[in-house]
Amino acid sequence: MTQKRQSNTKMVPVPSYSIVPERDVDKRPVLETRHLGIEFGGLKAVEDFNLTIGATEIAGLIGPNGAGKTTVFNLLTKVYQPTNGVVILDGKDTAGMNAAQASKLGIARTFQNIRLFGNMTVEDNVRIGLHNQIRYGMVSGILRGPSYWKQEKAQHEKALELLSIFDMQDMADMQAGSLPYGAQRRLEIVRALATNPKLLLLDEPAAGMNPHETEELMENITKIRDQFQIAIMLIEHDMNLVMGICEGICVLNYGRIIAKGTASEIQSNPTVIEAYLGKRKEG
């Protein structure tokens, strides 16, 4: 667990807004939420959720099953509209926006239950991620002018370059739905990265992976942060992964934040142990 911040990870300054208060740099936060909450038919699924994430921070969101972690992701990505509070992405209030508009502001995500474009190729999945970075319309797509060929070529190269992060260039022509499970999870990350995000949300990226794959994933997550200089927030049940790479951790229980801090702070927090870590020892 102590080997967490070595090798290929260079130290990145994290702004003071972040979960870990003592780090400092004058960069504004990429995400800020104030009193964020949502109700489903009177049931408060998430309540008074306040969180700030620095521009290049890796943050973890943990909590027991049903604590509302994925609901938080759905609120941040505007899949759900909050009943209370605000989500500020890259300095802009997202009130009234839909998921597509939030994506254009620079938030990207993966899904707990993988949602790839299963009938399309691996490359096309990445190309969909690049959709908003190429700019030819329907008519030039049909008429096939020079701008079509130029941009298609650029898009193809960019897609392969992104796939190379996870060494997946050779799979570009395969059907996404036919990939093995782990590769599907990685493809989801590549697709999210293709949208050129400032904040990447990963919903249980290590689910279903073996320890070796998880180890690789941890390295890759820090590598992605360093290479793209983006913030990453992840939901994960694998505590080795969370404690290993997350600089700040936020613990959720019954829709409320019960603790925020560094890995060591969280591990020694009695409330967290009661709500979460204590439980984990049994199973």
Binding site: F40, T70, V79, Y80
Partner: protein, 294 residues
């Protein structure tokens, strides 16, 4: 004014038939999450069976209706087993196309068996009409029987789904098939039962529809079927009182629209209602909201 009351009665009568058909749609949609497009054509088959029983075999009306119900019940269960059950995990596109195919199959089988010429359907009621307000307002016995049948059916069905074991099983399956299975409920049997009840009601609806509008031909069920689906959506799909309310409102809207606005655009009104309801309140009048899980 008298004229209006008379239209209103006709509307409620037609609406009651829609309501009975809509019950079949709403129950099947609630439990199997599919739009049984062929339901309207089961009505037509039911009417033909009752017609044959009365005209060719000389059975009394009551026996004929029961015969139609038995045949339709069997038909409904067979259709479900052969065509829909294998597609339980398929996309809604595939299921709907299959159901449309089934609808056409029934229509064309009827065309081969009974021919394209419309049959003149004899009324199963055969009582005199009720005359009110010095004979200015005449309510036919068919209207009275139809409305009564509709109310009785709704009460019985509501009691069935809330009080009996099988009825409760149906509600559980419509909530969550997986959980129902774990609780030891036979999901396949429950779905079959739903189709059986819906189809038996379709037979009743067919007989009542043809008693009021006595032209029987292979396409008789298609339009009322679609309109009854509209009624089910209008009232809130999956809701039994909703189907009743939606059916009657739709029948009234159709008859009044035809009478006061335009005869040619009568059907267009019904469909306009469907579109408006789906856009303004997709859950219908008495339906409940469903959240999409992400």
């Amino acid at each position: 004014m008298i004229q209006f009351l008379s239209y209103l009665c006709n509307g409620i009568s037609l609406g009651s038939v829609y309501a009975i058909i809509a019950l079949g749609y709403t129950m099947v949609y609630g439990i199997a999450k599919m739009l049984n497009f062929a339901h309207g054509d089961v009505i037509m088959i039911g009417a033909y069976i009752a017609f044959c029983a009365m005209q060719y075999w000389g059975f009394p009306p009551v026996i004929s209706v029961i015969a139609a119900m038995v045949v339709c019940t069997a038909l409904g269960v067979i259709i479900e087993r052969l065509a829909y059950k294998p597609l339980r995990k398929a996309t809604s596109l595939a299921v709907l196309i299959t159901a449309i195919g089934m609808s056409y199959l029934l229509q064309n089988v009827a065309l081969l068996v009974w021919g394209a010429n419309p049959k003149s359907f004899p009324s199963v009621v055969g009582l005199g009409a009720l005359s009110m307000l010095n004979g200015q307002l005449i309510i036919t016995s068919e209207t009275i029987v139809t409305i009564t049948a509709c109310v009785v059916i709704m009460i019985v069905l509501t009691l069935f789904t809330s009080k009996t074991k099988m009825g409760k099983a149906m509600r559980v399956v419509s909530e969550d098939k997986g959980a129902a299975e774990l609780m030891g409920i036979n999901v396949n049997a429950t779905i079959s039962l739903t189709f059986a009840i819906g189809s038996a009601l379709a037979a009743v609806a067919g007989v009542l529809l043809c008693s009021a509008y006595p032209t029987l031909q292979p396409t008789t069920g298609a339009m009322p079927g679609i309109k009854a689906f509209t009624a089910a959506v209008f009232g809130g799909i999956g809701s039994i009182p909703g189907a009743m309310l939606g059916g009657i409102l739709l029948g009234v809207i159709e008859i009044l629209g035809k009478a006061y606005v335009s005869m040619e655009l009568g059907d267009a009104f019904v469909f306009a209602v469907l579109i408006v309801v789906l856009l303004v309140k997709p859950t219908g009048l008495l339906g409940k909201t469903i959240h999409e899980k992400v």
